[in-house]
């Protein structure tokens, strides 16, 4: 823990200095810097996933609205749960033409894979585009499970015979699964699949018993009556699921979100950072982006940028460290 604090201190000082110098500079500086070559938009996940969709939508919108004088080029670097992408960004220190679109492995991968030696708190925060939510799903055919209590009872009865599908050890849903195991004192078998869509399909096909999925991954099956959500891990009920209780309402203190943010490499110039903040703010406010958020069940009401996002990252890093320590890294990797 002291290690974390010292790291925060180390980064806090330059951040304060940067914030002080930036006062009143941002507007003219924006006009001064603009990209000189194509911008690499690194995606720390594979083609077709949530982060990839967001990156390609943003790229399309930038092109359609002619917001950048140079093209933005999405590049997938999914290796090692994002470790490869994080190392790549870290090595691009001081580069103004490389940015990263994240998911929560931005926080978890450096903690679980200590060996990669990446400290994401040094990265240059640009803007938070959205927050994604999680719900607990079972197949609609399970008539015996109607709420959280009957779910816990069913899992306890099945023991390790209960199969939870997920997108991979160390991913968001595996952390939530480990949190639930700890909270309710049961032990399940976690089976990783490539991608949230495949997880959802395996739930519909009854190859797994329950899943923790984003609304976007399950919504179509839910509308078709194939699956049903039991509980949502949010502060308040989502508008799309008004009848599904939150964990907090049921007296279980469990909230978990996934952020989608844009970040630059460590040491990106202040001028470039401001330019990108301005660019992504424009995109965030666009009608297309807000429609996409509504359709996909993402929360896009609060814009966080620059140092505010940096502070949010610091808080999230600490939270994930604590989470991983409390459930134990072995509970997540399973070996």
């Amino acid at each position: 823990m002291t290690n974390v604090l010292s790291k925060i201190k180390r980064t806090a000082i330059p951040a304060v200095v940067a914030a002080a110098t930036s006062l009143g500079v941002s507007a003219p500086a924006m006009a001064e810097w603009s990209p000189k070559k194509p911008i690499e938009l690194i995606i720390m996940a594979g083609a077709g996933g949530g982060a990839d969709q967001i990156a390609r939508l943003l790229q399309g919108l930038i092109e359609k609205k002619k917001l950048s004088p140079r093209p933005v080029i999405p590049i997938n670097k999914p290796g090692g749960s994002g470790a490869e992408a994080l190392r790549y960004i870290q090595d691009k220190e001081g580069d103004d033409h490389t940015i990263l679109v994240t998911l929560n492995s931005f926080y978890t991968t450096p903690v679980i894979q200590q060996g990669i030696g990446v400290d994401v708190s040094n990265f240059t925060p640009i803007g938070r585009m959205a927050i994604d939510n999680f719900l607990l799903w079972v197949n609609s055919g399970r008539d015996d499970i109607t709420d959280l209590d009957s779910y816990v009872a069913a899992v306890k009865a099945a023991g390790t015979g209960w199969k939870v599908g997920g997108t991979g050890t160390g991913q968001e849903d595996s952390i939530l699964t480990a949190m639930m195991e700890k909270e309710f004192g049961y032990d399940v078998t976690y089976i990783p699949f490539p991608g949230g869509g495949t997880v959802a399909k395996n739930l519909v096909g009854n190859h797994v018993d329950s899943t923790v999925n984003n609304p976007a991954e399950q919504n179509e099956f839910f509308r078709a009556g194939e699956t049903k959500p039991l509980v949502q891990f949010t502060a308040e009920r989502l508008p799309a699921y008004p009848d599904v209780p939150t964990a907090n309402e049921l007296g279980v203190n469990m909230e978990y979100y996934m952020q989608r943010s844009i970040n630059g490499p460590p040491g990106m110039s202040k001028e470039a950072q401001d330019w990108y903040i301005n660019l992504f703010k424009t995109l965030f406010d666009s009608e297309e982006w807000q429609t996409f958020c509504t359709d996909d069940g993402l929360a896009c009401d609060q814009w966080l940028a620059g140092d505010d996002l940096g502070a949010y990252h610091t808080q999230q890093i600490a939270l994930h460290k604590e989470l991983i320590e409390s459930v134990g890294a072995t509970a997540i990797t399973g070996e």
């Binding site: 000189k36 070559k37 194509p38 690499e40 004088p69 140079r70 093209p71 080029i73 390790t160 078998t189 399973g334 070996e335």
Partner: protein, 160 residues
């Protein structure tokens, strides 16, 4: 060669053994098991090959010609070497300079083609690669230290 591959197999087995290679009760094989047992299989295959070689079963073991005659080694070596050269220059000076020099070397000194063809290829191929990858497909190729030289080209392509 089989001896060398057998050594590689043993190396792979050790590398795999960093992870759990055994059978985890109730969970199936551990994460290192798959590559470990496969490498073990590779080792067995190599041993079988060596044994067959001693017994002279395979045509290669009865072959008295040298594995690689000198001329062949020269030709293959120059070709492989020229690609190594291409990659090293790509690291140092970027791919476009590397392509230019590689074509000069290959066409002029190996192919003995005339200057008009060599020069037109030296200029034409990098331009074609640039147009296709950077412009049409938007895949940036490594430019290393020649990167700033491309800024004016981007100005032309996308406007200032």
């Amino acid at each position: 060669m089989a001896v060398l591959l057998a050594l590689c197999s043993i190396g792979l087995m050790f590398k795999s053994a960093e992870l759990r290679i055994g059978w985890v009760p109730d969970r199936g094989p551990g994460s290192g098991a798959w590559p470990f047992w496969l490498s073990a299989g590779m080792l067995l295959c190599c041993l079988a090959t060596i044994w067959r070689w001693f017994r002279g079963v395979t045509p290669e073991s009865r072959n008295l010609e040298p594995y690689m005659p000198r001329e062949t080694a020269m030709i293959v070596g120059i070709s492989a070497g020229s690609i190594v050269f291409l990659l090293v220059i790509t690291h140092l000076l970027g791919i476009y300079v590397a392509l230019f020099l590689f074509l000069l070397f290959y066409l002029k000194f190996i192919g003995h083609h005339g200057w008009p063809l060599t020069i037109s290829m030296m200029i034409g191929v990098p331009i074609f690669v640039f147009c296709l990858f950077e412009w049409a497909l938007k895949i940036p190729l490594p430019k290393s230290i020649t990167e700033p030289m491309f800024y004016p080209i981007y100005d032309l392509m996308y406007g200032v």
